[in-house]
Each structure stands twice: as C-alpha cells, then as structure tokens.
C-alpha cells in the first residue's frame, strides 16, 4: 500500500515558483473586464430572447461581482 501523502493542493500552495504566480496574476488582469463583458453579453442575450431590457444590467453587475470574487479568492489563496 502506498504511504499516505499530504493533500496535493497544500503542496502546490506551499511552493509555487514565480512564473506560476505570474500566470495567476496575469489572469486576474483580464478576469475583471472579461467577467464584465461575459455578464453583459449573457444578460443582453437573455434580454433579446425574453424581450426585456433589465437583464443586461443585472448581468453586468453579476459579471463585475464574478471578477471581484475571482480576484479576492486568488489574493486570499496566495496570502494564506
């Protein structure tokens, strides 16, 4: 039987090289605008489908929130 190993995520968090950090943070730079655009696009599509005009605004805010949540999650994970 193989010896028990510590959870892999913990290992990954402990020793991350700077390039991995660069990858993570470069993702964040685009995550906020991308989340906003995707939220707005999804809302606009729903607006067009349901003949309404408010879902795109909700989608926009959801997109901004999603981007912010992703940002906070990454920062919290890396500052643990």
């Amino acid at each position: 039987m193989a010896p028990p190993t510590p959870p892999d995520d913990q290992n990954a968090e402990k020793k991350q090289n700077p390039w991995v950090q660069v990858g993570r943070y470069s993702q964040l730079a685009l995550m906020l605008p991308a989340g906003t655009v995707v939220g707005w696009l999804a809302g606009s599509a729903l607006d067009r489908w349901l003949h309404t005009s408010w879902i795109s605004i909700v989608g926009l805010f959801l997109g901004i929130t999603a981007g912010m949540i992703e940002l906070i999650r990454t920062v919290l994970r890396d500052t643990k």
């Binding site: 959870p7 090289n17 991995v20 993702q27 995550m31 991308a34 655009v37 997109g63 992703e70």
Partner: protein
Amino acid sequence: MPEQLWFTEILNHLFAGPVTAFLHVLRITPKHPEAPIPNSFAMELLVFGFLLTLFLLLRSRLSVESPGGLQHSFEAVEGFVVGQSREIIGHHSEPYTPFFTIVFIFILVCNLIGLIPGFESPTGVPVVPLGCAICAFLYYHTQGFKHAGPKYLLHFFGPPMEGMSIWARIPLAILMLPIELVSHFARLLSLTVRLWANIFAGDLITLVFFSMIPIAIPIIFMGLHIVVAILQAYVFMLLSIIYVSGAVAEEH
C-alpha cells in the same frame, strides 16, 4: 476574392468545392464560395500536419541508448510541463500532462510560424485562440466530472461553507450559481483575448516598423515577438493547468 497565402491558395484550389458543399450542408454560406478556407485555418492545418509528421518521425527514432537531438528537445519540453503540472496539481497530475504538452507545443508553433516569410500566425485571428480556449474549457470540465462525478456540479454553487446551516446555504448557492457560471465563461474570454491580442499586436508592431525602417530595427521586434510567443504559449498552458487543478481539487 480575399488575400490568400500561397498555402491557402493551394488548399482552396484543391478543396474549395467540397468545403463549400460541406458548409452548405451545415447551412453556412461562405463569404467567398470560391475560396472558403481562410488563412488562419490553412495555417492551423499546416501546423497540425507539421507536428504530426514531427511526432511520427520522433516515434520512429525513439531510442533509450542513443537519443537524438530531437528526442532530447521534446523530452526537455515534456519534463518542463510535467514539473509545472506536478507543482500546481500535485502528484496525480500525470494523466493530464499530455494535453498540457500538446497545447503548449501547438500554440508555440502557431505563434512562431508568423515569423517565417510567406506564413502568418493563426493565433493572430480571434477564432483560433477561441478554439484553443474552448478545448481547454471542455477539457477541465470533463476532467472535473471524471474525477468527482456529479459532485463536480457543487463547484458551481460556491465554496463549501463549513458550519453554515442548510437554510443559509441554499439562497447563497442560488446567488453563487450565476456568478460562478459567468466566472467560468470569463476564463474562456480571458484566455482567448490574451493570446489573440498579444500575437496580433506583436505582428502589427513588426509590420509597422518593417514598413518604416526595413533594415535592422524590425529584427529587434521580431526578437520581442519570439519572447512574447513563448511567454503566451506558456501562460496559456499554465492557466489550463490551474483550471484543471481547480476542477480536480478535493473541496467537496
């Protein structure tokens, strides 16, 4: 008639009829029925053919006793990707490394092919990075499902809240569902835009400086383009690894 590279011209000359007929079956009307294959698709096919030939050649010459230069190079690339994925995903990363390796090599060759006169980078056209991003997107969700089964869907309801009552969890999960969905689709967009914008801008800068000062100066920008090409292929691969590690993490 669109502006075509020599390779696209050959493909359109040979396959324009069948491709247009196939597109009609799919109810797509090509803008130019006499040249339905765009440069980006032709270049992708060329890269695919080149890599396939290279790998077949490599396969036929594999040797443990006296590995050649090509084998050494690919072993180095493979070792690098294995190291990166092990660092991020952990010790169970081996099944995923072939995907990451091929994503890295394919995008790298696509980025670099534009430096050869008579060719252009397919990744400088948004549909190609989008295709690569869709592959990565489908791959990490498939691996998530394979790893956790239907429990993987819990990823879309936000992080697990230890000690919170079920009545508080349900409204929070309903609120988190659209946010998580947007967040996942935003990854698709961010992967696409990053790769496309960098390669498009690199090509454009080289072209602009080449048209202004055709001697020496463009070489500097071509060098910069090589660095950007390698870096962007690496970042795309790295983000794919990060997304897979999130999908196969034991959170729930």
